[in-house]
Amino acid sequence: MTEFTYGVPQEQDWNALGDDEFRKIIRTEFETNYPQELRFLPHRPPFAMVADWWKRMSARGWIAPFWPAEYGGMGLAARKALIYHEEVERWGITRFQDHGIQMVGPVLIQWGTEEQRRRYLPSILNCENIWCQGYSEPGSGSDLASLQTKAVLDGDDFVINGQKIWTTMAHDASHIFILVRTDPNVKKQEGISFVLADMDQPGITVRPIPDMSGYAEFCEVFFDDARTPQDNLVGELNKGWTVAKSLLGFERIFIGSPKLPEYALEVLETVASARGVLDDPVFRDKYVRLQLDVEHLGASYKHFADIVARGETLGADVSMLKVWATEAFQKAADLIIETAGPLGAMKGSTRMGNVDVNVLAPFYKARPATIYGGSNEIQRNILSKAVLGL
């Protein structure tokens, strides 16, 4: 237990509350204060757009729900954490800097030095620093451990050279945590280190990569003799792979949440209604099949959520949620296009009967979902090996 004070003190011991009471408090906060126009955004917004909300969360001490209370988090146990997350999804609260909250915080709490925690956690909690994650490289996508970006000690600094890619919102971030190769002469997983760096330096260049819908959520990040103090090494030198892997906790369940396919089904219903086919038997047959896919995703999600709520550890089988959720999402997005007829060609918001619908938004959101976060092929490899023993 540290003497240093992180963030603001918690109003109460949330875990001591009943589930329903806790849910009510969360829901009231969200429904009362989260701006309507920011609900269910089609893309991850730049920080400026959502700054007021996150500063409010920060001031209330709610910005890091899953961190321990002594580090400025809400200290939610798994059961309450799930409820918090359900309410976030239910109200369509946007994501922001989850790399600071979801990754850097937990990593520093588990692996960091006291000094590192004091330096970085407060500025995550008060929204001063925004973090991004430098993992993937042009030559190492699915095969992450083959990464080539090098860090070499030069005095007290690491000097970093190389390139990262698919770095989410790097153009909006002040800091980056990266996996770098610090020993090229050992087995590929064994020469990797986990280091933190300030983005505001001449050695780092960011280039946004617009996706096929025209939006740039991802970036390339170039390191040309970028520097970071040796103090920014997290965990031991050459043990970065272990640090990175330690993050696969209960939050793995969230990527398989039924929320996105449910959202696609809502768009589908709007489109079908505007096109006058909601009662068409052929449409209904396809629609009902998808409803079942999503309902049974929900049943499967509940199975894993119950494990989390009991405080047990998730197994590798949780990967099935991501596979099923993203593929159901895609099927729904494809059926939206099909059902939209000539409107299936339209980019952006378009008029359908009495409503405006962004017909292709679910498609553009669903399509990469089977690629990012470990492609579904990689997930199936994992399931085959770890669950089926093949």
Binding site: R284, D285, Y287, V288, R289, Q291, L292, E295, H296, L297, G298, A299, S300, K302, H303, D317, M320, V323, W324, E377, R380, N381, L383, S384, V387, L388, G389, L390
Partner: protein, 385 residues
């Protein structure tokens, strides 16, 4: 909800009392009655046939999740015994009928295994006979006179059939009153009953029952008036039981497949190392898991206290729409992953796949339940808006 320990004990006991026995399973194929009366007695002794029957009626008084645990074990063992039809549906329906001498007697016989009974209700085209003229009943001085036919009766050699009949009404000029039905206990040994056995994929059979001037005593009446709520409830319980049996079937098909992938070699390596087969196996497993979770969710809904009939029906159809389809697909893909051996009669997989084909349509196949689910869902959404 039955507590986890009880469920585990039930499952273990069931696995011990009804293990897979290939010789036994093969032995009953194409041979009446298609299953083992001695084994049926064992099942009765274990209390399985009364598992849902309240204690004050002589049953175990457990809940639906206990019954599905048994059905799943029997599915895993490819057991030919008609547990779902004669051990879930019949006792459940009888227990829901008003108390009375006949009801009390036959319920006791059914749960003791002395008499095997199942419902008969479909006409020869596969529709529910209610509202059709497939079976006509006429009141007589001593009871009823029946004419017509029931088909797809899951236990052709049953001792008795529990059947809904619609009465011809004299005041309507002998026409049936479609709003009034009765539920009768029809002893299979009555004069005028002829049962044709139609062999199903697994070598068991369905009965095509033709009734010609069958005289049924008045005491055979189990229920009258609006019999459909209890009939539908028992059908839904049976459908859930059928899902559990199919789930057990799937689990064993998948196990056999994984074992095969780990032992069979081609091109100098274990075939389970081929990525295409790995991913196919993952998809089978994933679909089976989703089916399992779907069933868990539906069972929870169905056995919730005071669940409305529409919610119960929707949850039931949700599970069957999923599992009825997944079971057949999984069987198909299990054959493909095995290659030629998987299609032979002497390898056990065939027993499971043929069994799944035979039982999957019971009380409505996946497509029929998908339709029902869609209709119920739409109706309930309209009500709620």
């Amino acid at each position: 909800m039955t507590d986890a320990d009880t469920l585990r004990m039930l499952t273990e006991a069931a696995a011990a009392a009804a293990p897979f026995d290939a010789k036994r399973v093969r032995g009953w194929r194409d041979k009446a009655p298609g299953f083992d009366r001695a084994q049926w007695t064992v099942m009765a002794e274990q209390g399985w046939l009364s598992i849902l029957v309240p204690e004050d009626l002589g049953g175990l008084g457990l809940e639906l999740d206990a019954a599905t645990a048994i059905a799943q074990v029997l599915g895993y063992a490819a057991a030919p015994e008609p547990f779902v039809a004669a051990g879930i549906v019949a006792p459940q329906l009888l227990a829901s009928c008003p108390a009375g001498e006949t009801r009390d007697t036959v319920l006791a016989d059914v749960i003791s295994g002395t008499k095997v009974a199942c419902i008969a209700h479909l006409n020869p085209s596969g529709e529910l006979a209610f509202g059709s003229t497939a079976v006509r009943a006429r009141k007589t001085a001593s009871g009823y006179s029946l004419n017509g036919e029931y088909r797809f009766v899951p236990v052709p050699d049953a001792d008795a059939f529990i059947a809904p009949v619609v009465l011809d009404r004299a005041e309507q000029g002998g026409k049936p009153d479609l709003c009034q039905a009765e539920l009768l206990w029809i002893d299979a040994g009555l004069n005028g009953i002829e049962v044709e056995r139609e062999t199903t994929a697994d070598g068991s059979a369905h009965g095509w029952i033709r009734l010609t001037n069958v005289e049924v005593p008045a005491a055979a009446q189990l229920a009258a008036g609006d019999i459909w709520p209890i009939f539908d409830a028992a059908s839904d319980y049976g459908t859930i039981g059928n899902c559990a049996e199919l789930l057990g079937n799937m689990e064993r098909c998948l196990e056999l497949t994984l074992e095969f992938l780990k032992t069979r070699s081609q091109f100098g390596q274990q075939i389970g190392k081929f990525q295409v087969l790995q991913h196919r196996a993952v998809d089978l497993w994933m679909n089976k898991e989703v089916a399992r979770h779907a069933l868990t969710a539906s069972v929870a809904t169905v056995m919730a206290p005071d669940v409305p009939a529409a919610a119960r029906a929707q949850a039931t159809s949700s599970a069957k729409a999923r599992i009825g389809q997944t079971a057949l697909h999984l069987g198909n893909d299990a054959i493909q992953l095995h290659g030629a051996i998987g299609f032979t009669d002497e390898y056990d997989l065939a027993l499971y796949v043929n069994r799944a084909i035979a039982i999957a349509p019971y009380l409505g196949n996946a497509a029929e339940h998908l339709k029902r689910y869609g209709e119920l869902k739409q109706r309930r959404m309209e009500v709620s808006t």
